[in-house]
């Protein structure tokens, strides 16, 4: 199990390969990667603020829950903060399990909790000003299924 909260970028392919190489006995590997959308060219940059200390604590707690709830061989979460531009990777989740249903469910669970329970806040910076990204009702609603 690995968690990294980092300012630096990361390489999806490199991380996916390293994660897959580390697991044994698990036939199913799922990855989710979030990428900065350019909003049709209107986005100049994205600033991600976080709450150092609580971020690691909250995500570790979410990962422990996922490991306990599904038969996971391993799990990985990488989440960036700081200034990002369009097409930068924002974050990544990876899960490995014997059966695909577990790997998919755990990855979706981790994503749903990261969206609404990990202390990150995104601000979109455009040519004509900047704006904090509003939380989506459906992200909060997504938690009720777990």
């Amino acid at each position: 199990m690995r968690l990294s909260v980092q300012q630096d970028s990361f390489d999806l392919g490199h991380e996916a390969n390293a994660f897959a190489a580390g697991i044994t006995g698990a036939g199913a590997v799922v990855t989710f990667t979030g990428v900065v959308r350019d909003n049709g060219g209107k986005l100049a940059a994205m600033e991600i603020e976080h709450y150092p200390g609580m971020t690691e604590k909250a995500i570790s707690g979410i990962m422990d829950q996922a490991m306990a709830r599904w038969s996971l061989a391993d799990a990985l979460v990488i989440h960036r903060y700081g200034r990002l531009v369009a097409n930068d990777p924002i974050m990544m989740v990876a899960t490995a399990a014997r059966h695909r249903a577990d790997a998919f469910a755990a990855a979706e669970f981790l994503m749903d909790y990261l969206k609404s329970r990990a202390p990150f806040w995104k601000k979109e910076i455009g040519a004509d000003g900047s704006e904090w990204v509003a939380a989506r009702d459906e992200d909060e609603a997504a938690l009720t299924r777990w």
């Binding site: 604590k57 969206k115 806040w121 909060e140």
Partner: protein, 82 residues
Amino acid sequence: MIDVMYFAWVRERIGLPRERIETDAATVADLIDELKAREPRYEMAFADLKSLRVALDQELSSFDAPLAGVREVAFFPPMTGG
């Protein structure tokens, strides 16, 4: 003495990321009332509690939670990670 932290637009409205506050507030709600009484920027930041979240010692909590023994209070909007 308690550490109070602000994130995202709460931080921007109040104009600082953290401060140490001398308070006898019993609950988070009491602390908010104290802060709102200070200056308009606090009143503005805490105008709509439905759009705010609070963490006590880095755990999500509620506005009616007691502050006894708490060292760090953080106010912020709903998270938008992922």
